[in-house]
Subunit: 219 residues, 2 copies
DNA sequence: ACCTGAACACCGTTCAAGT
DNA sequence: ACCTGAACACCGTTCAAGT
């Protein structure tokens, strides 16, 4: 559709737009070439293969994350990174399932990792503790966003849209029946913030106390 | 290879074995039929389509989870569910990326959800709090296992096996350099347990204190 | 160097035909 | 009912050929 000169950047931009609009399955070399108005094989002059194309798309999306400035107090910096990750992930939900299988190897993913480790270091942690804290943080943040954007947290029909569930099976599960309204309807922004508070609170627990924010532990 | 009579169970068992041995991409109707020694289209007499086949495979694997017995104290029950989830997921790592896009809808997934909500209810939580706690727990547990089994926590080459990283880029990132040994080598069992302690500790925080275990908060 | 069409070895699924 | 082969509309990628 665009008449830009063909190149890696134009290809990755069109691929990201295609994935956002129609999902990962719609991203095929043939369909992408058609969108760009070129022959399928023309793409291979700029991209080695489909795997690298997908990695490139993920790298472009990762580049949309804004990292905290150099002086940002450490706990605030970690909160910013977490919120930015979620913001960008929800802009590109169809890419989210790729994240867990793609260790940070590009400049942007490594930059996010560096910013996280740097903030943890400034909070007073030794490298070993920082690595552990990073994995705890990443597990919650990426887990929450993956389940949120993947629809895992919509286990019940809740009117239209959800998957069909055997009513007889659920009827015999009193916990689910009692909780149903709160499974169907919840405040994802609020619960993400609360989860971040729990994780960061657990990290700040044994810190020296001189930092920007005490362990929160909100209800 | 097996000479069992063809049926949904035999098909699902063969499909799970194929996914475990060669990955999700190797699971094709044609390959699976060849493994079973039947024509491709014979599968469609027992399985409506590939999507349902994959859902069925996930349901079979979910059935390998052992749920805590009825009388198990609530926090211990939650720990058991979390450990069982991880144990089974690591037995079938190639299925893990499907989880976030598959809300519990089958009898076994809903059974796990029910066991979780039941334990949270017995811990003293009202349904709204139980739903929140369930999402916090699921975010950490599924997130941790997804990143662990997906290789996300292996960002550095660390000898052989990892992805190639631009050495120049990493060299300019002092946090990563300092932390490198602890990114390459860590105790995943220990960190999973520690993460569970953080999450369950945050839930027990405002509980009435009459339960089986106090909030742990180990270092 | 960049672009292209034909071809190859695959997919999931429909269909008509068998038992 | 269960099973089958051919066919259709797709894939990613190799290759030889063009500019």
């Amino acid at each position: 559709l665009t008449r830009d000169p063909l190149g890696p950047e134009a290809i990755l931009r069109a691929a990201l737009a295609l994935v956002d609009a129609e999902g990962l399955d719609a991203l095929t070399m043939r369909r992408l070439a058609a969108d760009l108005g070129v022959a399928t094989m023309s793409l291979y002059s700029h991209v080695p293969n489909k795997d690298d194309l997908v990695r490139g798309v993920l790298e472009v999306a990762t580049g949309e994350m804004a990292l905290p400035g150099p002086g940002t107090p450490p706990w605030e910096a970690l909160r910013t990174i977490a919120r930015e990750f979620r913001r960008v992930a929800l802009l590109h939900p169809n890419l989210v399932p790729l994240i867990t299988r793609t260790p940070p190897a590009g400049a942007r993913g490594l930059g996010t990792l560096e910013a996280t480790l740097e903030a943890l270091g400034r909070s007073g942690m030794a490298p070993a503790a920082a690595a552990r804290a990073y994995r705890l943080l990443a597990s919650f943040v990426i887990g929450f966003v993956s389940l949120e954007s993947g629809g895992f947290f919509r286990p019940l029909p809740a009117g239209a849209g959800g998957p069909t569930v055997d009513a007889g099976v659920v009827g015999a599960m009193p916990g689910i029946v009692a909780t149903a309204p709160y499974l169907a309807d919840w405040d994802s922004d609020d619960e993400f913030e609360a989860g971040i508070d729990v994780v960061i609170g657990s990290l700040a627990w044994r810190s020296d106390g001189s930092h920007d924010r005490p362990p929160p532990h909100r209800p």
